[in-house]
Structure formats: C-alpha cells, structure tokens
C-alpha cells in the first residue's frame, strides 16, 4: 500500500514542481512570450477537444504510420543482414555512412522527388526510424549464435517456427528500444516537416497558427500537446516492452 502511493506521489510532486517553476518564471519575466500554466493549462484542456485535438491527431497519425513503415521495412532487412555475413559486409559501409547523417538534410530532396505531400513527411520520419531499427535488429540477429539456431532446429523447428520462436522474440525488444530512443527525434523532425504546406499538425499549429500571429498562450498549448504526444508514444512503447520482453527487466546474476 505504501509503495503504491509512493509510486504515484513522487512523479506527481515532480510535475507540481515543474508547474510551480514555470509559473514563477512567468511571473518574474512578466512578458507575453512566457505565459504561466495558470493561463495555458485551462486553454489546453479546452482546446484539446477542439482544433488542437485535431492537430494532435494529424501529428500522431503521421508518426504512427512512419513507425509502421519503418518497422515493416527495416526489421526484415536487419534480420537478413544479421544472419548473412556476406550480405552484411556488402551493405555495412553504406549503412555506416548514412546512419549518422541527420536525415532532416534530405528534406529538400524528398520534397522535390516526392512532392510536398503528407507522404513525403511520413517518409522522412520513417527514414530516421529505419536506420535506428535496421542497425539494432542487425546486431541482435548477428548475436544469435549458430549453436542456438542449431539447437532450436534440432527440436524440430523449420523456417516458420524459427521466426516465431527465435527471430521475432530476439529482435522485438531491440525494435522497441530503438523506437523508444528515437521517437523524440521523430517528433522533432515532424515539427519541422509540418511547418511547410499543410493545414494540420502540431508543427503547423505552433508556428503558423499561433506563433506567427502572436497567440502565445495558444502556442504553449501546442507545445504541451507535442510533449504529450512524445510521452504517450514513449509510455506506450515502454508498456509493450514490459509485456513482450520481461527478461530485460531482470537482474543478471549469472
């Protein structure tokens, strides 16, 4: 019982401290560019059921679609690379060079090639996630020893069962971890991509609809929504991780 309230109490206290700090800063600065939570929070909850909610949904939809595209393309490719050293040696330099390049630099290229459409924005975000997932899945698949594969095969597993009992459970946690650490970058890039030629999305809302017309309190509701989007995605991935990869949460004693 005590540990139960403790688990809620501490984060709540932290949140309260953040709001207090924000309010104090707003009052000290006393300028329109930094309204306090007393102004912003009621607006936020009010607008979340209106236009802000729709902008939120547009952004969330793009990120989720990008995640799906990235997982569906990078995970199988990572598996192939991880299990076949020959193919990996061929692709390794390509990946090594492209992996650290901030994918946002491809924005103009993507816009020219694919047009300034919703899909080009989604493509850009999935490109970021693609390399993150590709690299971890590849390394994870490479870590599966031949002995492990052989012993599972000796228990009667063919290709299908190997996928179900080895490759999927071996790489899913890595995919989720890659997503969790890169979801912040994805949201950041989404913010930039949404500033150009769209009518919906938090990036558009924050820059075009509020900041440029000096609606500062509304701008902060957009920033809050962006924070909410990031932390919801993070939390969701964490929950899936706990469910599907419980062994990651134990202490190694061996």
């Amino acid at each position: 019982m005590r540990s139960c309230t403790k688990g809620i109490l501490e984060p709540a206290a932290g949140l309260a401290a953040l709001l207090l700090f924000w309010q104090a800063g707003a009052m000290a600065l006393d300028r329109p560019i930094l309204p306090g939570p007393v102004t912003v929070l009621p607006l936020f909850f009010q607008h979340l059921w209106g236009d802000l909610g729709l902008h939120f949904m547009a952004s969330a939809g793009r990120v989720i679609l990008a995640i799906l595209i990235a997982v569906c393309t990078a995970a199988p490719l990572g598996l192939v690379l991880g299990q076949s050293p020959h193919i990996n040696r061929f692709f390794s330099p390509v990946i090594t060079i492209l992996y650290p390049v901030p994918k946002i630099v491809f924005l103009p290229v993507i816009y020219v090639l694919m047009g300034i459409t919703d899909f080009s924005k989604i493509f850009l975000i999935s490109l970021i996630l693609f390399f993150q997932i590709l690299v971890v899945v590849r390394d994870e698949a490479a870590g599966l020893t031949p002995e492990l594969i052989a012993s599972v095969r000796s228990l009667g597993a063919g290709r299908r069962a190997l996928f179900r009992f080895v490759y999927l459970p071996a790489t899913l946690p890595a995919i989720l971890t890659a997503l969790r650490v890169s979801v912040g970058t994805a949201v950041a890039v989404l913010f930039i991509a949404e500033q150009a030629l769209t009518q919906w999305g938090l990036g558009y809302y924050i820059v075009v609809e509020t900041y440029q017309v000096l609606r500062y309190p509304e701008m902060y509701t957009g920033i809050l929504a962006m924070g909410l989007l990031g932390s919801l995605l993070y939390g969701l991935i964490r929950i899936i991780e706990r469910k599907f990869a419980p062994h990651l949460f134990i202490k190694d004693t061996g």
Partner: protein
C-alpha cells in the same frame, strides 16, 4: 538393429581437403559412443551430419532405417553452449520443443498425424524433467540467472522432454567445473541406461571419452577413411572412473590418437 548407418560418406568444407572420404560406420541401438580427436578432425562435423544439420556431399546417413533429410525431433542435441533462449524462462525453454510441435500441429512431418496437444500432459512432462534434473524452484528464472551447470541441465531437460531415442552431444560438459562435470556425466549415464537411448558424445577429453563411451571412435586430423573404433568395456562398469582398467584404457586412447596429446 542399427540406430545409425553411415554409408560411403563424403564430406568436406569448400576450399578445404575432405574430412570424410568413403567413410562408413554403423552404430547399434542403445549403445553409448564417444568421438575423440584433435581439433579440426571433423568430429563435431560428423555429429552435425548425424543430426541432419548438414548434408553429406555424397553417400547416405540412415537413422532407424530411414534416410536423414532434416533434423528429426527424436534426436536430441546438446551443445557446449547450452543454446537456451535468453528471453524465455526455464519452464518455457524446457517446453520449447513441445511448443514447436504444437505450433506446427499434427502435419505428419513435425508431429505424427493424429497427435493432439494436451496442455495438462505437457505441463506434467515439463515439470517432471525439470525435477529430474534438479531444477525445481527455478522454473520462472531466465538463463542469465542460472549457473553454468544449471543452464546445461535445463538444456538437457529441454532435450529429454522430446523423448529422444538418440542423443547427440557436442562437448556438452567442457565448459563446466570438474565436480559439476562429473556429476552431469554420471547423470547422463544413468539417464541413457534407464531410457536405453543411443548416445554419441563428442569430446576432446580422453578421460571423458573413456567414462562415457563403450565404443570410442578416434578421428584423425586430415581425411578420415576407415573409422578407428576402440572397444571400451570400462564404460559399462558401475563406476568407470575408479575401475582398475581405467588408466590402461586412457593410455590406449592416447596411443590411438598418436600419442602426442
């Protein structure tokens, strides 16, 4: 009746000289064999050929009178590296083979036609073998939480739930400390005799070869043509390790290997 019949086997890795050339070998049912030889002599390769994990270049391997096409679930395989799934608990690891069988269903290939999954029975089988290998109370632990010896026990339990008629073991106890190694060697002898399982153990340890193998196949570096087999009655004694002929037998194996071990 023979368990394994290898007929005019040719095998070698590409770009390297053949390990086996026109190599024939018959292993009778219920016997316990050990394969010994210097590293690179092909003893592990021979084991993986018998497991169906590799295919002969020429020649044939029959197990229980049927040509071997792919790994058969009745052949249990135990490696030095236990091969447990790190993300699965001991209970799930031990049940893995049964779950794979259940996943495919009774298709006549992965499980006999007419076979039906029985959850209760499976649970009982799994917990019986967990108990027999002294892992009770560890069912919910992950491999990382076990000692090396316990991991190898879990790997053996996983193999035993499949009711193997043939056990193929590649240096199964090499990574273990001597007392645990001796204990597991004793355990495998008891298990094998009670269930009358044909056992083939690859080892580089002469004492282990003498303790576990009533026949000892000595492989040579380079190409193997005719199998060199030593009969070893010591392994059939109650306690081979303390038997009066144990040292003489070890000496015999050492000589057969070329004396330079």
């Amino acid at each position: 009746m023979s368990m394994i019949r290898i007929h005019q086997l040719f095998f070698g890795y590409s770009g390297k000289p053949l390990l086996f050339e026109n190599f024939s070998l018959t292993i009778p049912r219920g016997e316990s064999w050990t394969l010994i030889g210097p590293s690179g002599c092909g003893k592990s390769t021979l084991l993986s050929l018998m497991a169906g994990l590799q295919k002969p270049r020429r020649g044939s391997i029959e197990i229980e009178g049927r040509p071997l096409q792919r790994p058969r679930p009745e052949s249990g395989l135990v490696f030095q590296d236990h091969g447990l799934l790190p993300w699965a608990t001991v209970a799930d690891n031990v049940a893995l083979g049964l779950n794979i069988r259940r996943y495919y269903g009774a298709d006549g290939r992965h499980a006999p036609r007419g076979w039906e999954h029985d959850g209760e029975k499976q649970k009982k089988t799994v917990s019986r073998w967990i108990q027999r290998l002294g892992l009770e109370g560890k069912e919910a632990l992950y491999p990382a939480q076990l000692s090396r010896g316990q991991r190898q026990r879990a790997a053996i339990a996983r193999t035993m739930v499949m009711k193997p008629d043939l056990l193929l073991m590649d240096e199964p106890f090499s990574a273990l400390d001597p007392p645990i190694r001796e204990e597991l060697q004793g355990l495998m002898i008891r298990l094998g005799r009670r269930e009358s399982i044909t056992r083939i153990t690859v080892t580089h340890d002469i004492a282990e070869a003498v303790i576990l193998g009533e026949k000892i196949l000595v492989a040579r570096a380079g190409t193997n043509h005719k199998p060199q087999i030593l009969k070893n009655p010591v392994a059939l004694e109650k306690d081979p390790r303390t038997h009066k002929d144990f040292n003489a037998m070890c000496k015999g194996v050492r000589q057969a290997m070329g004396g330079l071990q």
